[in-house]
């Protein structure tokens, strides 16, 4: 292996070294990045949420919601609060409080 051989090989490769044109390759790579799907889904969720909020206010959703709550509250009172089982209500309250305490402890 002589210096002449080395020079010959070097020259051979340098003359054959050509820039590879992009021809849309970069665009294809960017389209196939894994994160892009996630990004598109986030954009889609945000878009749908925005549409939902707009429609909610456009069709007086707030008023309808308040009416429903009001009717439900009135209905509960009218159907007789006397029928409510105090024992069950107490058990439900204790269970909910214990779940809440557990959650808070878990977060800490």
């Amino acid at each position: 292996m002589t210096d002449i051989d080395d020079k010959m090989i070097s020259q051979f490769f340098q003359t054959e070294k050509k820039e590879v044109k992009d021809n849309g390759f970069s665009r294809r790579v960017m389209r196939n990045l894994p994160d892009r799907g996630e990004k598109l889904s986030n954009i889609w969720v945000a878009f749908c949420s925005a549409i939902g909020i707009i429609l909610f206010f456009l069709f007086d959703g707030l008023e309808a919601l308040l009416n429903i709550l009001h009717e439900a509250f009135n209905g509960a009172i009218q159907s007789g609060i006397a029928h409510i089982d105090i024992k069950s209500l107490l058990i439900v309250t204790i269970v909910l409080i214990s779940i809440g305490v557990k959650k808070v402890c878990h977060i800490e």
Binding site: M1, I4, D5, D6, M8, I9, S10, Q11, F12, F13, Q14, E16, K17, K18, E19, V20, K21, D22, F25, S26, R28, V29, M30, N32, L33, P34, D35, R36
Partner: protein, 181 residues
């Protein structure tokens, strides 16, 4: 300067998830990475593009692991090398065809036959690892130390691969009259 620019682009991708910064890196390195694969696959442009795309996607998903201990290009070549050798391994697992026969098949599939043919013909005479060392050294101007980092072996081993590759190439080129140029 180029190295600083690369680090700045990488930081933008890692911290700000800036896809445009990654796009700049892809545009900057697509040519050397695709040329690297073209040389490894002896001119199979479709396969080269698939492997190059896989390289950039892997680089993107693992970009946070780029620790700036080497150049971005060296890091990228290392991924490219691993992608290529994963491909070689999978090919050997799925096919009983001898590697050289497959190389010959790729050689006939290439699009730009002509002046490039001699390069691919000459590279065909080399073993895969010799081809990697020779093309990185002569075509991509990567130093022996960096090649050692890319293929994950000592610099001495790279020198041996280069030396054997050079001998085979010199013989091929002389047989084809390149010593008279």
């Amino acid at each position: 300067m180029s190295q600083i620019n690369d680090i700045s682009l990488v930081a933008q991708v890692v911290v700000l998830k800036n896809a445009r910064a990654f796009d700049e890196l892809v545009k900057k390195y697509q040519s050397p990475i695709r040329r690297f694969f073209l040389n490894q696959t002896l001119g199979d442009s479709d396969l080269s593009d698939d492997l190059a795309q896989e390289t950039f996607i892997k680089a993107y998903t693992n970009i946070a692991s780029f620790k700036n201990l080497s150049n971005f290009s060296t890091w990228l070549y290392r991924i490219a090398y691993n992608v290529f050798y994963d491909y070689i391994r999978s090919r050997k697992e799925t096919s009983e065809i001898d590697a050289r026969e497959v190389d010959a098949m790729h050689c006939t599939e290439q699009e730009n036959i002509g002046q490039k043919m001699d390069v691919y013909k000459s590279l065909k005479t080399l073993k895969e690892v010799e081809r990697t060392c020779v093309t990185l050294f002569y075509m991509e101007d990567v130093s022996i130390e960096k090649i050692a980092g890319i293929i994950g072996c000592p610099a001495g081993t790279v020198k041996s691969h280069l030396s054997r590759g050079k001998e085979k190439l010199a013989t091929y080129l002389k047989h084809n009259g390149y010593d008279r140029h």
